[in-house]
């Protein structure tokens, strides 16, 4: 064995290495370099780093020296079993002076002829994230000094590894979240939806979600939920809960029943998952909404010209608690021009104020108006410029005023794909009101140009809505193409031709621009009355 002075010298060497050189290495290189150093410092033959997998139940071989087969084969050791499993479970240095079948699970260690082992846990705070162990081909009694030196190396590895896992997890969670939130909200006559998802401070995503989908009966299912927890595990659980709600909504259109089944599903399949969920079934024909809440903050109902009010929903317990509970629902009327605002805690639970006050502020956001505008307004008022502590989802459903008889009203997302939908609807409408082929060609092109302008110029990357209204009064057709964005001039060459073309295609065109958006208002005489003057 080495004298104590030599160990002191080695500790200093390892510390020096830890502070300067290693900081510049990527995690994989760092693991390799630290393993090499550890081998030289402790005069051992093998070294290995095993990391806990996301389930927390297995250790996976990640880097090895003298045991390369271990990482190639991706050896998995259950926590609590075998040598490495014992180190992880006991959270302390473990040494095996003489290896045998009873105390070592990994066949590679035995096949290599390893006689003695020393292992220490990789700890970050109170969490064990893996195990570092070394072995010798000759029998050896590891000392406390050996264990201390190895623990020093383990702490360095643990910190670097945790930092890498955090970055990777955050990216994965964020990608998952984006993929699961509905891109396009359903288009239902008389209803308009708008939604926002905002990650928490530092770009953290969690288990918040919203969902809107049509059911075979024509009713709509609207859901917001919040899985307790943060990061990738919460996002993954959220994905499964979201799918389960969708499946149960096909079986039952009673929101209390959907949540009862969801609770049953979570209790059976999802250990340690708890979530608050609000489920609403919207009957667009009857203008009613049936709502059930599993521990979720109540929605805000806003009528035009009035401050919004919290809907008195009986708040049942969250899903995922040990025993089944009875669930309730309430049905509310959705007035014309009114809207329902659904949200998650991230929206109201701000660092600086308790939840009660945050919820009480929610109504202020809910004055009647267009869905997108309401959504943007609520979001601005609630989140303000401060980064939210938690992630948050916001969903607004508005009941739009019915179009006057003989009118066409369309609200589509302002994306290129919508242009074709708009043209098709306008063509169909014009055919029905007796427009000539020439009228159809001109009006479709004029509407197409104005709509393409909205798609190209009205909104930033977050997008927005494109509204098209056609109304026929005798031979006079009035056409409005509107957005709620902020106008910017056309960019690039050969641009800006659209407005000139519109002017040539209709009798009259006016462009109203204000802070609420831009409206292109056109009129055109249609039918046989036109004829002669062209």
């Amino acid at each position: 064995m080495q004298p104590a002075e030599a160990y002191g010298e080695r500790l200093r060497r390892l510390q020096a290495l830890t502070d300067s050189d290693l900081a510049r290495l990527g995690v994989d290189d760092l693991l390799d370099v630290v393993l090499e150093r550890v081998r030289d410092l402790l005069s051992v033959d093998t070294g290995a780093v095993l990391l806990l997998d996301p389930s927390g139940a297995y250790l996976v071989a990640t880097s090895a020296l003298g045991l390369e087969e271990e990482t190639r084969q991706g050896v998995r050791i259950p926590v609590g079993r075998g040598f490495a499993g014992r180190v992880a479970q006991e959270r302390r240095a473990v040494t095996i002076p003489e290896v045998d079948h009873g105390n070592v699970l990994n066949p590679i260690l035995r096949e290599k002829g390893i006689r003695s082992l020393l292992g220490v846990p990789l700890c970050v705070g109170d969490d064990v994230i893996g195990v570092l162990h070394v072995g010798t081909l000759a029998p050896r009694a590891f000392t406390d000094d050996d264990a201390e030196l190895l623990q020093l190396a383990a702490d360095r590895i643990a910190l670097a590894t945790r930092a890498r896992m955090t970055v990777a997890e955050r990216a994965a969670a964020s990608a998952l979240q984006r993929s699961l939130l509905p891109g396009l909200l359903p288009d239902v006559p008389g209803l308009e939806f708008a939604a926002r998802y905002v990650p928490g401070g530092g770009g953290d995503v969690g288990g918040d979600w919203y969902d809107v989908f049509a059911l075979p009966s024509g009713q709509l299912c609207v859901v917001v939920g919040d899985v307790v927890g943060r990061g990738l595990p919460a996002s993954v659980a959220m994905g499964r809960l979201r799918s389960a709600v969708r499946a149960y909504a096909l079986v039952s259109e009673d929101p209390a029943e959907i949540l009862r089944r969801l609770d049953e599903q979570v209790r059976h399949f999802e250990r340690d998952v708890m979530a608050t969920v609000l489920c609403a079934i919207v009957d667009a024909a009857q203008h009613t909404v049936r709502i059930s809440s599993a521990g979720h903050p109540p929605p805000v109902l806003a009528a035009p010209g009035r401050a919004g009010e919290l809907v008195e929903v009986p708040t049942d317990l969250p899903v995922g608690l040990p025993r089944p509970r009875s669930r309730h629902s309430v049905t509310v009327d959705l007035p014309v021009g009114g809207g329902l605002v659904l949200y998650t805690d991230g929206l109201v639970e701000r660092r600086t104020e308790p939840r009660g006050r945050g919820s009480a502020r929610a109504p202020a956001g809910g004055a009647g108006g267009r869905g997108e505008a309401v959504c943007a307004g609520v979001r601005g008022r609630m989140w303000g410029g401060d980064p939210a502590a938690d992630d948050g989802a916001l969903l607004v459903g508005m009941r739009t005023p019915p179009a006057p008889a003989g009118s066409l009203r369309l609200v589509e997302p302002a994306v290129p794909q919508s242009l074709r939908v708009v043209r098709h609807a306008v063509r169909t409408y014009l055919g029905a009101v007796g427009a000539t082929a020439e009228d159809v060609a001109d009006v479709v092109l004029a509407v197409g140009e104005a709509a393409a302008n909205v798609v190209e110029h009205a909104y930033g990357p977050a997008g927005g809505a494109l509204e098209v209204v056609l109304h026929r009064d005798g031979p006079r057709l009035s056409i409005t193409v509107a957005d709620t964005g902020s106008w910017r001039e056309a960019r690039g060459i050969y641009r800006g031709r659209g407005t000139t073309m519109i002017a040539a295609l209709v009798d009259d065109v006016r462009i109203d621009r204000d802070t609420a958006g831009t409206r292109v208002v056109m009129t055109r005489t249609i039918g046989d009355e036109r004829g002669e003057d062209r």
Partner: protein, 105 residues
Amino acid sequence: MTDAGVASRGADPGRLEIALSGEIDLQNASAVERQLDDLVSNTTESVTIDLTRLTYLDSAGLRVLFGLASRLELLQVHLELRVPRGSVVRRAVEVSGLGEVVAID
């Protein structure tokens, strides 16, 4: 997705004839532009584009034709558009002023 057909015909490789069909708008204009660019080679002497079977052409599509006209002028390649009177996109071509830079049949 907005659908447009871009088909070349004619036996003489120097005299290219391209027939456009379907609809051209903001969504597919750049795809149509790429297909047109691929058809025209540096041995091409003249290009005729037939818009007879096109059912919609907006300013994004017209932008492609303006751009093509300007590049072909530089390459000294003759460009002609076939847009018969009564064809659906005739108005779009007329009101855009495309007729002032390209020969229209």
